[in-house]
Symmetry: C2
Subunit: 145 residues, 2 copies
DNA sequence: CGCACGATGTAGCCTTGGCTACACTTTGCC
DNA sequence: GGCAAAGTGTAGCCAAGGCTACATCGTGCG
């Protein structure tokens, strides 16, 4: 008898490799995005962003935050001085605004699908970094319908 | 004059910290999920999963794959022997099936929103790992409407 | 039937991002 | 004004997951 057709269509290796590379790139910028967004939120709600508050909000120790801030300063997103509050650079503020908007769009989209608020928040925190401009536009359009 | 009300509602730190912790947990299982899914795909399409094919499909070098396979063997998802093809354990096969299904649901959902196929594939590769059971159910229901 | 080449293994490097333990600085309060 | 407690800095550990360079294994073909 003839060979059975493969039950599952084969996903081309090249496309999956490209997708996974893109996912890794997104993960590489994820920390910066979550940090600047948290710093902007803290500055807005408390007047300034202090290390301990940032650590609490990010769910890590102050040690992790401190080392990461050094990298973000190298990359030009924040301005830090010993024992001082943390400030965003213009580039950091711009990134924070973009990420904040994207975050809100993703949360609103999930809620408009009927997902409860807390679950929407939790899922959005991960999903937001993997949403292309096209998909973000589709999300916004859908929840505004 | 009285203090201006804060323009943006403040997201509670505790919820954001919990969300970020959950995202980190999801990232910790992401590699295992993508690997077993790729191994199952290769076994289905080529008859067996070889190291080079896996490396090509994952978009990394064979060195990275080899080290990761050692960890996945420790964790009970794969069975590897030097110079041999790579096999999934029962637990690995189960994980692969679950992930394959979830992947397909996410892709179908994005496409049903009007996202072109390639973009849907790329976005799904990252999004899939951050979709809770509730959200997955909502995605499936929506694209089946 | 042997050997060249492709496949696989391994040594060792790097960055990120977790952590604990401990040291030092700031600051609010008596 | 001094001091205790809170905040901040730093040394050093770990695991994951990238990489290059090189060594070894297996096999198909001439
Ligand atoms: Mn996030
Ligand atoms: Mn994936
Ligand atoms: Mn996938
Ligand atoms: Mn992710």
């Amino acid at each position: 008898m003839p060979a059975q057709p493969q039950p599952q269509p084969v996903r081309p290796s090249a496309l999956q490799a490209e997708s996974l590379r893109q996912t890794r790139r997104e993960h590489a910028s994820e920390t910066a995005e979550d940090y600047v967004e948290a710093i902007a939120d803290l500055a807005a709600s408390l007047g300034e962003a202090r290390l301990v508050d940032l650590a609490r909000r990010l769910g890590v120790t102050h040690v992790t935050v401190n080392r990461t801030l050094a990298r973000l300063q190298r990359e030009g997103f924040v301005q830090v001085q010993p024992y001082r509050a943390i400030f965003l650079t213009p580039s950091g503020r711009k990134l924070a605004a973009t990420c904040r908007h994207r975050h809100d769009v993703v949360v609103a989209f999930l809620r408009s699908l009927g997902i409860p608020g807390k679950t929407a928040e939790i899922d959005a925190e991960g999903i937001e970094h993997h949403v292309s401009p096209r998909t973000l536009a589709a999300f916004a359009k859908f929840s505004a319908r």
